[in-house]
Symmetry: C2
């Protein structure tokens, strides 16, 4: 308890980082990850797509060449450009083609369809790279003065249209890329608090913490590319959030630049000083301001990670086992339960065919032939991991689980960030693939699971493209759990967006009608905005509008997202 | 996971409850609890007050008789009275003297001083007892129409002026007492969710849950009288919140009546659908509306409760042991560490003198003569309690703790709600006694502890009434902890409020300057409002004002509290 001063972190600000390094795109412009990291499909998966979706016979459709992308001419007025250059330095205001294209879209299905076709619906007129919180404030002041809309840009991984460069009624739109704000700003080891610039990526943050023997434990599937600011702005959850907590539980303090000035929250562990300001800023999706720094709760890096697999006869039985674990305080840090369809596809996708077939025989013999795979991951000190595993195993056996050992668990862990890469390959083969997610109470989980699946099958079946719908539970709470759906169907060539729109509307309507939330961790962005009022009611939307009017009186911050959303693609 | 319908709770609404039963005061009008439940001081405590504070020689000062209380005539216009009577029934609008006096103040030190003297600074013109959420909406509409200010009233236990019947610029002021809204409205056992009317008290709620084998686990010191609505409105914490979580962590859903209409949050375990509406309503202290129902996370009632005591040589060592426990995930459900001064006073107050002397000899022999008492309470299944106790004990021994067994722990548990009764006795003896609380990071805890104590000693010493200042840590977080101060001094007869004001301002200034929060769980009310801007900044206050302007455009809701606070008593 001695009054040690707040540790000075060794990391320095990136003020001097070169413009080229900051502006180098992290992802290939048309898809996920970098060139060379591709995800070919195993033959069994190809066969499954063909037999179940009737997909895969069309010729392969690769993205157009970069030169073929159709881009409107940049439209930033001279005065605005000069003001932005004065705010951040001229080398940090970019209007080149590649920079604009890499900030033209996130990574939703409609985004990928448009990028691959070379027809992004919009692009920022320029991309600005501030190097400090004060520079972010200066950028916002310049944009307010020159009537320029602002889209905050972290990793660009949004799957809900959150970084769509919409200008609203403004004269131009710029993306503000936080890439240069990526430092460990302060570390208070005793209080387990670390302050990061908003642009720090998952791997950058974990490397900086790892040097101090610490971890945040936040691993969204987009971990390799997404950023601290994006996590906070979108109320993100990660694969280990059952154990480590969602980002809203990990945020201890925030610094946010708004057109009306800076908001910095006081760093206290708990307070009764009125409503919680942090929880208005967490999830504000750039519509109120730009998060520039976040102070996060960190923990000792786990000495051991153990991921193991279980099989359950059915999804209800497995979900009930997870409920028992969670409500008994015995849940693993990572807890996932795939339904029968997802389990089957995961086994098909697995490349180690021999082990897979062996497993199938074994499971069939035990009556789990069409069963559900559960992954349980425990992290921490070896002795604690051991005792927690033992306690959880007792519950899982008692609730009908069959242990499959660590091999499938380790395979899941190896492939935990692989999903988004696969989308690019599926799109090339004419397969529509998208995910959507919700949460609800335990008592409503089965009903909502059925309703959303039915809505997707019905909407896509009516178009002659019956889908494969799969689901998993991946975040446990005492009162309920998440449901994460993946659906695949043969693409309607030439009507890709209308097809997607039909599925998205049907599923979202079913979620709202069924008592779920429109999003458990993907955020609202543009694509969920039309369901927000159904979820939270008109008064709450009015309160958000009132907050925006105070912080962003000209409405330049991320127009068309969260509060008054633009129309869905394909509408 | 089967789709069981939401259990219908057997409890019926209290719509038919008699007017007299609902209006019967729960506490004696001038102090804590009911007549007959008094708290005489043991002789050793009397001697201590005399020797250390120079207090206790003045003649005993008992409260004035009820007839002597000076009360302004009720000032509710006929139109307003008729509208309220139409909203709730004429028998639920009360203007009698006892009802007005029992709603004239909370239970802060200035409140008690004024009540005992028979000079409450204000009183509501009437007290209204709605029986349903819709009636609360109707009451608010009537008040808005007739320019009547509204003070929501739960248990009336506020220690920060939160229920002071201030009318602001309005024509009259009514207290809206939620006593009739005290039912268990719904129970979803599978999802561990229970919905209560806002007027349910601690014992009423625990009895209703106990009938289903459940508990909420929320035990503020005011447990016997405070209410669900008050907990939520003030962002309350209880003695077992280290284990069960603060009320803000237990609230899953809310229904709130505002002058602009009703807000009901969607019941989902977690969501990324924008900023968290619940966390704007939790802690809103009646300034935005009246909470009428809360859905709370409940748990199985613990089969075992075990409270045991430890001794540490000093406060820093003890606090560090608690930090180690909490950050290692091994904290007890109740964790309290008293500093040397509080430990000494607790031993003096203990009535079992023999055991106490024995303990003192034992502790002296082990070098813990002037040590610090720690209470660790574990609740749950016997096997889990045993293993958790064992793990915690290993840590506590390793960090210098000396086990004192369950006897002092059981004594603490027996007396856990006793503190407020004691205040009445101390006031009768001419002793000023008040408490204040804050929280800060672990790395700042020692510094803030010293600064607040120094501020109180300096401010009261300068007035010739040097205080006894004591402190405990009672709520643990990974990133920090609470500090709860109690201070006693000889009352300045005739200048009681000026004396209190000097101490309050000095301590609060020290808290803000020292990086703490103005309140960890007592809320803002009137008495902390002047420090709120220092804590959260002017922009956040503006956002709260904007929210209030939307929900309460005429500003009738609890004027002078939270946002734009009235002056402190004694100023």
């Amino acid at each position: 308890m001695s009054a040690t001063p707040r540790d000075a972190a060794p990391a320095s600000r990136d003020r001097g980082r070169s413009a080229d390094a900051a502006a180098a795109p992290r992802m290939r412009w048309w898809g996920w990850g970098v060139d060379g990291h591709d995800a070919p499909l195993p033959p069994a998966a190809e066969a499954l797509l063909r037999s179940e979706l009737g997909a895969g016979d069309a010729p392969r459709a690769d993205p157009v060449a970069l030169e073929e992308v159709v881009l409107p001419a940049p439209d930033l007025a001279g005065g605005a450009r000069a003001a932005l250059a004065a705010a951040v330095g001229p080398e940090h205001v970019r209007e080149d083609r590649l920079t604009r294209i890499t900030h033209a879209a996130g990574r939703s299905y409609p985004d990928l369809v448009a990028l691959r076709a070379g027809t992004p619906p919009a692009a920022p007129d320029a991309v600005v790279y501030p190097g400090t919180s004060d520079e972010v404030l200066a950028v916002l002041a310049s944009c307010a003065e020159h009537d320029v809309a602002v889209v905050p840009f972290g990793g660009g991984t949004s799957v809900t249209g959150g970084v769509e460069p919409l200008r609203g009624a403004h004269s131009a739109v710029v993306a503000v890329d936080l890439a240069r704000l990526d430092s460990l700003v302060a570390l208070d080891h005793r209080s387990q608090l670390a302050t990061f610039g908003a642009g720090a990526t998952g791997p950058g943050l974990e490397a900086a913490l790892g040097a101090h023997g610490l971890t945040l434990g936040h691993f969204p599937q987009s971990f390799e590319f997404c950023t601290v600011g994006g996590w906070v702005a979108t109320r993100s959850a990660g694969q280990a959030s059952t154990g480590y907590g969602r980002i809203d539980e990990l945020v201890a303090g925030l610094k946010v630049a708004t057109p009306a000035g800076e908001i910095a929250t006081r760093l206290v562990p708990a307070t009764a000083a009125g409503p919680d300001l942090r929880q208005l800023l967490v999830g504000s999706e750039g519509a109120l301001g730009i998060i520039t720094e976040a102070t996060l709760r960190v923990r000792p890096r786990p000495a051991e990670r153990r991921y193991e697999a279980w099989s359950f006869r059915g999804f209800p039985e497995g979900a009930d086992a997870l409920r028992t674990l969670e409500q008994g305080g015995q849940a693993p840090d990572v807890a996932r339960l795939s339904d029968e369809a997802e389990t089957r596809l995961m086994l098909t996708m697995a490349s180690d065919g021999a082990a897979k077939r062996l497993g199938a025989v074994y499971l069939g013999a035990r009556g789990h032939g069409g069963g559900c795979l559960m992954i349980c991951g425990f992290e921490g000190e070896p002795a604690r991991v051991r005792s927690r595993r033992h306690a959880a195993a007792t519950v899982l056996r008692a609730t009908g689980g069959l242990p499959l050992g660590t091999r499938p668990g380790a395979a899941w862990e190896r492939g935990r960030f692989h999903g988004p890469y696969l989308r690019d390959e599926l799109l090339a083969r004419g397969v529509m693939v998208d995910t959507l997610e919700t949460s609800t109470t335990w008592s409503n989980l089965g009903t909502l699971y059925g309703a959303v699946g039915d809505a997707l099958r019905s909407a896509l079946g009516a178009r002659g493209t019956p889908p494969l719908v799969m689901c998993h539970v991946s975040h446990l709470y005492a009162t309920g759990a998440s449901l994460y759906f993946t659906f695949l169907a043969r693409q309607e060539r030439g009507a890709e967006l209308a097809q997607w729109h039909a599925a998205k509307v049907a599923a979202s309507d079913a979620i709202l009608a069924g008592g779920g939330t429109i999003t458990h961790h993907h955020a609202v962005g543009r694509d969920h905005a039309r369901w927000l009022e159904s979820e939270v009611g008109p008064l709450w939307l009015d309160l958000l509008r009132a907050a925006k009017a105070r912080l962003d009186p000209q409405g330049i911050m991320n127009p068309g997202k969260l509060i008054d959303g633009a129309a869905l693609p394909g509408a």
